[in-house]
């Protein structure tokens, strides 16, 4: 193997056979650069929204905080050289006339809410740091391979997970999905909630169809030219827009019809008749292409999927955490205390488990929905978490029952530790492995449940897009527009399959019985 001598920013000078890590490093760099360059307009707009340039005070404040923080770090670590390098770059960045660079935001405020933009921008900035750190660790591992004897059981398991091919496929898909979710405002081509103006687009557009838009779209509506022309209505709307005072009935619009190709932007002549007299108007237009078509309401499907990913991915995870916390506490208490506490808690679990879960969820949701006009996503997460802990509590209880008979529990008791300390510091951590496996497999299940609820109209409500409620819309137009129901379902399948792959691999890695 040829020795490589590279200077990788953030990693250092590399003169070893570092091919694998370096390839990964360059791949990540290429993706990052591609996003920033190809979506520069959007990144600029998001930075504009996120940093609130109308209030530059925020910028100076964060610069000040960063200065104090980094100085403290340098003082603790004695890394003055790194500090001065960092500040040379930071001050250079600070004195770029950002106001001028970022001016001219093209985003409508309703779409890029400030916190969304914040998250996307932070992720975009943190990502290179993450990959530099990862490459550095990879290099470190390569130069000083950890000996098997010196590894903790957790490290051994993680090593097995890393070498498992299926798990790494799953982890990559999930990484990609979470990346898309974080960068949603950067990547989504259009506002996922933007509706076409009533009467202009009459049905869901097929994948890769182009619509020629007249006027600007800042007020959240699209004006379309020449698609599915209804000579009376749509054109009337069109002219209504161009000259708001005069209503000119048109009989014919000279716009692009199906199959027509026009330059992306330009001027088109619209002809018609006004009171029997023919006339022609010059109309500026630009093309909007919908890569996956539009949904039943005429919203861009791809943007809906990108924004919907945030709901599926976060709901599954957070609901799992809630369920694990409740289940672990109930299971530990029942298993350790035993007796009547155990009996009572397990009977409650029995009752809740024989209730069909979807019916239970629908009931709770119906009760909540009637009390409040709008059911927020947090409530759905809470409901999903609060109804999913029963299986976990049984699992944990079974673990605790065997653990509490072991000598280390006796030792803990002999030391006079409180019951709470024994339960949550000694017993629960020892039953972590099956809990982790179970909860990973549960995330996929929860995503499926949330999608089912949204599909039934009892979860995330339109117009907020979620994969489940987009499929619901697709059901209405199944006969005419197959793509609306198909693509979000595929997204769900890929994400859930990935979670299950990772869960299976975790089980293989964490279960010492399966290890040779």
């Amino acid at each position: 193997m040829r020795a490589v001598d590279w200077l990788l920013p953030g990693v250092g000078h590399v003169r070893h056979g570092f091919r694998r890590e370096a390839r990964k490093y360059f791949l990540f760099m290429a993706i990052w650069l591609a996003i920033v360059i190809l979506r520069w307009e959007r990144v600029r707009s998001i930075a504009h929204v996120a940093l609130g340039w109308q209030k530059p005070g925020l910028f100076w404040w964060s610069l000040g905080v960063a200065f104090v923080g980094s100085a403290f770090w340098a003082w603790r670590n004695g890394a003055w050289r790194t500090l001065s390098g960092f500040w040379a770059v930071a001050l250079g960045v600070a004195f770029v006339p950002w106001e001028r660079v970022l001016a001219g935001s093209t985003l409508s405020a309703s779409w890029a809410a400030a916190d969304e933009s914040w998250i996307a921008l932070r992720f975009l900035l943190a990502w290179p740091l993450l990959w530099m750190w990862g490459a550095r660790r990879g290099l470190d591992r390569l130069l000083n391979p950890p000996s098997r004897e010196a590894q903790t059981p957790w490290q051994i398991a993680m090593g097995m997970l890393r070498r498992n091919g299926r798990a790494s496929i799953g982890l990559r898909v999930l990484g990609l999905a979470y990346m898309i979710a974080f960068l949603a405002p950067v990547l989504a081509p259009y506002d996922p909630e933007r509706l076409p103006r009533a009467g202009t687009v009459l049905k869901a557009l097929a994948p890769v169809s182009t619509v020629y838009v007249i006027g600007d779209t800042r007020d959240g509506e699209v004006y379309c030219l020449g698609f599915e022309i209804d000579p009376d209505d749509s054109t009337k709307l069109l002219l209504d827009r161009m000259s708001s005072t005069k209503k000119i009935p048109l009989t014919r619009v000279g716009g692009p019809r199906k199959g027509w190709k026009l330059p992306a932007t330009g001027v088109r002549t619209v002809t018609g008749t006004r009171g029997g007299d023919p006339f022609a108007v010059e109309v500026p237009y630009r093309a909007e292409t919908f890569p996956l078509g539009t949904d039943d309401l005429g919203r861009d499907l791809m943007s809906g999927l990108i924004y919907g990913s945030r709901i599926s991915l976060s709901i599954g995870f957070v609901a799992m955490v809630i369920a694990v916390v409740i289940g672990a506490i109930v299971g530990t208490v029942a298993g350790y205390l035993g007796g009547w506490v155990d009996f009572g808690l397990m009977r409650v679990v029995d009752i809740l488990m024989s209730f069909p879960r979807l019916l239970l969820l629908m009931l709770i949701y119906a009760g909540y929905a009637a009390a409040k006009e709008e059911v927020s996503i947090f409530v759905i997460v809470a409901i999903l978490g609060a109804t999913g802990w029963m299986g976990i509590s049984r699992l944990v209880r079974a673990q605790i029952l065997s653990l509490r008979e072991q000598d280390f529990t006796m030792a803990a008791r002999a030391l006079g530790l409180t019951q709470r300390r024994i339960m949550f510091r000694h017993l629960l951590p020892n039953s972590m492995a099956p809990l982790i496996v179970d909860s990973t497999l549960r995330v996929g299940n929860t995503i499926l449940l949330e999608a089912a609820l949204s599909f039934l109209g009892m979860g995330v409500q339109k117009p907020t897009p979620s994969w489940g409620n987009i499929v619901n819309g697709g059901q209405q137009v199944l006969a005419d527009a197959w793509w609306v129901a198909t693509f979000p379902g595929l997204c769900i399948v890929f994400v859930v399959v990935s979670f299950n792959l990772v869960g299976d691999a975790l089980r293989d890695a964490l279960d010492p019985k399966l290890r040779e």
Partner: protein, 318 residues
Amino acid sequence: MFAFVVRRLIWGVFIVLGVIVLAFFAVEAAPGDPFAHLESPKMTKEDLALIKEKWGYGPDKTTMDRFGIYIKRLVLEQDLGDSIAQGRPVSQILSTAIPNTLKLTVAALILDLLLGISLGVIQAFKQHSWLDRIGTFGSLFLYSMPGFWLALMLALIFAVTLGWLPRHGINSPGESGFGDYLKHLILPAFTLGVAAAAYTARFQRSALLEVIRQDYIRTARAKGLSETKVIWKHAMKNALLPTITLFGLYLPFLMSGTIIIESIFAWPGMGLASIQAINARDPQVVTAITIVATTMVVLGSLIADILYAVVDPRVRLS
């Protein structure tokens, strides 16, 4: 064994009672008005109050009172009450809905066992072959698939595009033959059964692989029996046993599945009825459906336990 069954049955009654309480109060706690659909300009406030009074929703009645009346009617007269939204006895609604759901569930179970067991056996038989790999990956995809999406995709392919099977309902208008019914049954039953079959195949595969490693199989092979005979006469007898227990686990899964599948295929069973009842805030119907579903789940798991003990003498019920 008898004592076990009696104990389980008594406990099952308690579970159902707990579920009744839960379901009743969950529906009652919902602030939606079950009488909202009755309001019309023709009806005066007094009329409405009179109707509410008649249904036990008078101003002097509390939820506890209604619960007492409900339980009394249920226990003494075996009466599930009347549906407010539909104005007819709940038992009448259920008597058409339950058979439909049962037919669907049984058809799904049969499909599940047929597909799942045969796929699992083939996979174990040809372990590490491409067939095994495809089967494993296929079942992973199938049980990671949202049921409603699978249903829509199958409907899209077989009902909308190809037009081989009907999309909605239980019978085509004007027809009532068995063949027509069967045609309507295929799509919902297949959707429901195929996801369960993915689990069954996975389970059956590992069960058979475990049995094959045992000594008596080696003995059978050493006797010079053909591989087919070893698998079907010796291994399968033991490998089928754990699959039977799955049956009990599937019932809650199928019960939840029917809610979605029935709403997609407009199959007039309990799932569809429960969605309608929840949307109409119809407490009696929701509670009744919950009771029926829970009873089925409890009975199903009991039957599975008994079956397991009957077919496998090594299992002792206690």
